[in-house]
């Protein structure tokens, strides 16, 4: 494999598929897109199998100075990127399959947008040059704008504008910060920048500039308001990509840039990050409780889950960061699945209003079962992926701040409340409308969509080691980089105290 530009090949594949889609008709485009995404998934799986756990930090590296003196085509992945690449590649064929019948208008363009999107998202995780990262990061706006605007719901135009301008405004300041950093460090290589010590007084500004971008993307309270609009109006597969991968770009940005590059600023602004996380968990969970639109409810729950991610990251502890990463992976799968669940009934009844449904467990038992599984995963039931991530993130947070941990934990209770409420209204009781009572159960295609998702959610819940192992060294390196700056926790542990014992166990990860 040495010397073979496997990452470039993976990036080129969906682009070629996209061009092929544009040249065929609707039926051809669907098959081209499905085959392309499946081949990409196979190649990414190959990456995982060939990834040397415990090997060098950056693997499969490529570097071609294509773009003058400014930046180069530098790719390479570590374990964290690998896991997010897997998530992306895994969700894409599912998205294509979910759009198989739901999208009837302008299919070739739709499939092309999704394939371009895949290249851009994979590229963001692979980029080893800071400007290449920025270019790809920003580029995702274009296809997503089109996906929301062309194939979205009734209010799609407003949602598309809001999505585009909000995220653009967030990211532009990051570019200036990047320019400053490159002028200071005289390198655009991310691995080199990771070990550059920026002056502490500049770090705060740089951190805030990056925060503006990642906070919008993630999204964090109070800049999350674009998300419910975008989610609700986007077509089902668009919501899956938004929740599954696009939000993770923000989370990836924090762990790749903000924490290791600006450790001092991260420590100084820990209160801000914790504060925003706490507000986000409580506020957005309460908002989710009163939603009447299914997609909106899930969108708000996304914001709440992402607050676990920020709380975990900024705990400066190994468990916290491990947990945050697992929450990202798990949320990518679970919220994606929940949007698909909504999509199933929306395709049949064309309404997202919870009050129009009810009693679906009677006429759609298979659907109710799948729905149940993902509801439980979203709540964080042990045995599902949601539990592992949330538990680790909370353990990490607790080491740093008991109050933050206490308040963020209420998110689990509130999460259970709104998810179970949703499930109750949808699946139990009697049907509120005659149409809802007549809905047919899942088709074979829909089973094929949910089966792999369910399998991975359980796999991650039962044996998370598979997912933690590739990331372990990278998280260790990150923790080592930031621990000198780590603020003191408020736990006041004494070595002899039995209370400290569980913490050391957790340090080995979950077994």
């Amino acid at each position: 494999m040495a010397g073979f530009p496997i990452l470039s090949v993976i990036l080129a594949l969906p682009v070629i598929g996209a061009i092929a889609c544009l040249l065929t008709n609707a039926k051809g485009a669907r098959w081209v897109a499905l085959i392309t995404t499946l081949v990409t998934l196979a190649l990414c799986a190959g990456l995982w199998l060939n990834f040397e756990v415990g090997g060098p930090q950056w693997q499969f590296a490529e570097n071609v100075p294509l773009f003058g003196r400014y930046f180069s085509w530098a790719l390479g992945i570590d374990g964290i990127a690998l896991m997010l690449i897997m998530l992306t590649a895994f969700l894409m064929p599912i998205c294509i399959a979910a759009s198989w019948e739901a999208i009837q208008a302008r299919v070739p363009e739709y499939m092309a947008c999704f394939l371009i999107m895949e290249t851009l998202m994979l590229g963001v995780f692979m980029a080893q040059d800071i400007f290449l990262f920025y270019v790809l990061f920003e580029s995702t706006l274009v296809p997503m704008y089109l996906i929301i605007g062309i194939w979205g719901g009734a209010e799609r135009i407003y949602a598309a504008y809001k999505f585009f301008l909000y995220t653009l405004l967030g990211s532009v300041l990051m570019l200036i910060a990047m320019l400053w950093m490159v002028n200071y460090a005289h390198t655009t290589s991310i691995p080199d920048l990771l070990v550059t010590d920026f002056p502490p007084e500049a770090q705060t500004w740089l951190f805030l500039a990056f925060l503006a971008s990642f906070a919008v993307k993630l999204p964090m309270w109070p800049v999350h308001t674009w998300l419910p609009d975008a989610h609700v109006q986007a077509p089902t597969a668009g919501s899956v990509i938004l929740a599954g991968v696009l939000l993770k770009l923000g989370g990836y940005g924090f762990v790749r840039f903000s924490l290791p590059m600006f450790p001092d600023a991260s420590a100084q602004l820990q209160w801000l990050m914790f504060g925003l996380s706490m507000v986000a968990v409580v506020y957005t969970s309460l908002v989710a409780l009163v939603q009447e639109d299914m997609k909106k409810l899930i969108a708000y729950s996304s914001v709440a889950h992402m607050a676990f991610v920020t709380a975990g990251y900024f705990s400066f502890s190994r468990q916290g960061i491990d947990g945050a990463l697992i929450v990202m992976l798990s949320h990518g799968l679970v919220s994606g699945a929940l949007f698909l669940i909504v999509g199933v009934v929306y395709d049949r009844l064309h309404t997202r209003e919870i009050a129009k449904y009810g009693g679906l467990s009677n006429n759609m038992p298979g659907y109710a079962l799948v729905f149940m599984l993902f509801t439980m995963a979203a709540v964080g039931l042990p045995g599902t992926s949601g539990f592992v991530g949330e538990f680790l993130a909370l353990v990490g947070t607790y080491q740093s701040s008991s109050w933050a941990a206490f308040i963020v934990t209420t998110g689990i209770i509130l999460g259970a409340a709104y998810m179970l409420l949703l499930y109750w209204h949808m699946a139990f009781g009697t049907a509120r409308t005659a149409e809802a009572a007549a809905l047919p159960d899942l088709s074979l295609r829909e089973w094929a969509i949910f089966a792999p998702l369910a399998a991975v959610v359980l796999w991650m819940g039962i044996y998370p080691e598979s997912f933690l192992a590739p990331m372990r060294d990278d998280v260790a390196a990150l923790v080592e980089r930031i621990e000198t700056a780590a603020p003191a926790g408020d736990a006041q542990v004494t070595p002899a105290s039995p209370a400290a014992a569980p913490a050391t166990h957790d340090g080995e990860g979950t077994h």
Binding site: I150, I176, L179, W180
Partner: protein, 482 residues
């Protein structure tokens, strides 16, 4: 010595002689020869570009230092000639359709280009003025080229009156600078103000800069641009938005660096003000536009503001970023205008409303796709190439310790992104309006494809050579570093 001087201005001689010859052809054969003349003019541009001094060699000055044929001038002239030639090609098809392509058109474009060539080469305030006026005189006539169209005549008149005012300002500024420094040569002016800027010199600088800002339509001297762009025939608007913009921008860069370089701190504030005012007003005022040509006029105001950010840096890197910016901007804007040229209703009449673009992605998918590329590119959204010129100007500003300026300017770019994506929305999200009539014009189609490929992500591959050329060109203005 004279032979040497004449060799330096060889491109101008080629263009002038071609213009005179084509004038005779026009007098002899009338409008029948218009198409042939236009192609011959394009050929003249190619020849002129081939004999440019300063491309492979460092170039030299002529006429006792009043005219520079250096790399900076060479870079600007290549772009100017290319833009002028492309505008002519676009004009052939557009005017030819209505049957009012007249033989004077190539002559005027050639003369305007000679003027622009002199502008970018001027190293003396009087050479500057001669070049400026030669360009302006040709452009007044071009703006009013459709004699039977009142809007076109109005555009010509408006342009003439306001431009004459600006020329007056420039002349007054020149006279002040000359009076206080004792010379019109840029190098002597710089030597005169090296010890500090006196009040008179400062006034001279302000008037000069104000007059020149009119030519690039920077706020607050931008009022003419939307009216003239809207009124002038579309290929002429495309010409206005491209070559003269670069010529005036290059002229400003040379004046500021070579003549008033010692007073950088004084003009930097003015440039920063114009930059921010242009990006903001160019963004806000465009939102309410209904006419696509007016919108593109505001877009040009907006873009000039970003180029000025690079100029404000005042460093070789900043000047090189300005050249880079204007080059890519010209391709993007020209591409957008080429699409506008194809907006005709079923009867072949030109349409200019934005509303007529509704649903273009259904009726003419490739046309809509091209327009989308140009719009996102003008908005500076990666991965389109329009992002990169913004990147280089901001990079230059940050390197010159103007990070705050870069931050404010980039934030204003979000405002302008709104109206660009509004066009995309109109074409892709809205229900179709009546389809445009067919256009058959392989030459402009090839130009559109070429421009679209350049602003597509493939354009990033040209960063290396383009940046190299722009850097050499910019270094020519800074003899100490060069």
């Amino acid at each position: 010595m004279l032979a040497h001087d004449l060799l330096i201005v060889l491109p101008e001689e080629v263009l002038t002689l071609s213009a005179l010859a084509l004038m005779l052809v026009a007098a002899w054969a009338g409008d029948r020869a218009a198409k042939l003349s236009s192609w011959l003019a394009v050929l003249a541009f190619v020849i002129a570009a081939l004999v440019l001094p300063g491309i492979v060699d460092p170039g030299d000055t002529a006429f006792s230092g009043m005219f520079a044929g250096d790399s900076f001038a060479a870079f600007s002239k290549v772009v100017i000639y290319a833009a002028a030639a492309a505008s002519l090609l676009a004009a052939i098809g557009w005017f030819g359709r209505a049957g009012d392509l007249r033989a004077e058109l190539p002559v005027l474009v050639l003369l305007a280009s000679v003027g622009m060539g002199i502008m970018v080469s001027a190293t003396d305030l009087l050479t500057l003025y001669v070049g400026l006026e030669l360009q302006n005189l040709a452009l007044y006539v071009l703006a009013a080229f459709r004699r039977d169209d009142t809007r076109s005549a109005e555009a010509g008149l408006k342009y003439f009156v306001l431009s004459a005012l600006a020329s007056g300002l420039v002349l007054y500024g020149i006279s002040l600078l000359y009076g206080f420094t004792g010379s019109t040569l840029f190098s002597q002016v710089a030597a005169g103000i090296a010890g500090g800027l006196s009040t008179g010199e400062l006034f001279g600088l302000v008037f000069l800069l104000a007059g020149l800002a009119f030519k690039i339509s920077a706020v607050p001297f931008h009022m003419w641009a939307p009216d003239v762009y809207q009124g002038a025939p579309t290929p002429i608007s495309a010409f206005f938005a491209t070559a003269p913009k670069l010529a005036a921008m290059a002229l400003i860069a040379r004046v500021l660096v070579e003549a008033t370089g010692p007073a950088t701190a004084s003009w930097q504030q003015m440039v920063i003000f114009m930059a921010l005012a242009s990006t903001i007003l160019g963004g806000v005022a465009a939102i309410a536009q209904k006419n696509i040509k007016r919108l593109l006029a505001y877009s040009s105001i907006n873009n000039v503001g970003f180029a000025l950010v690079g100029l404000a840096a005042g460093t070789p890197e900043g000047i090189s970023s300005v050249l880079f910016y204007m080059t890519v901007y010209i391709v993007m804007t020209f591409g957008a205008f080429l699409i506008v040229l194809r907006m005709r209703d079923q009867d072949g009449r030109p349409v200019e409303t934005i509303a007529s673009l509704r649903g273009l992605s259904r009726t003419r998918p490739w046309l809509a796709f091209g327009m989308m590329i140009f719009m996102f590119s003008l908005a500076g959204i990666p991965p389109l190439f329009g992002f990169w010129p913004k990147f280089v100007v901001f990079n230059a500003a940050v390197a010159a310790d103007l990070a705050w300026l870069a931050a404010v300017a980039i934030a204003t770019s979000v405002i302008s992104a709104f109206y660009y994506i509004m066009i995309v929305k109109t074409m892709f999200f809205d229900e179709p309006a009546p389809a445009y009539g067919p256009t058959r014009d392989p030459v402009t189609a090839a130009l559109v494809v070429g421009a679209a490929l350049f602003v597509s992500p493939l354009g990033y591959l040209s960063i290396g050579p383009l940046d190299h050329a722009a850097t050499i060109a910019a270094d020519a203005l800074f003899p100490a570093q060069g």
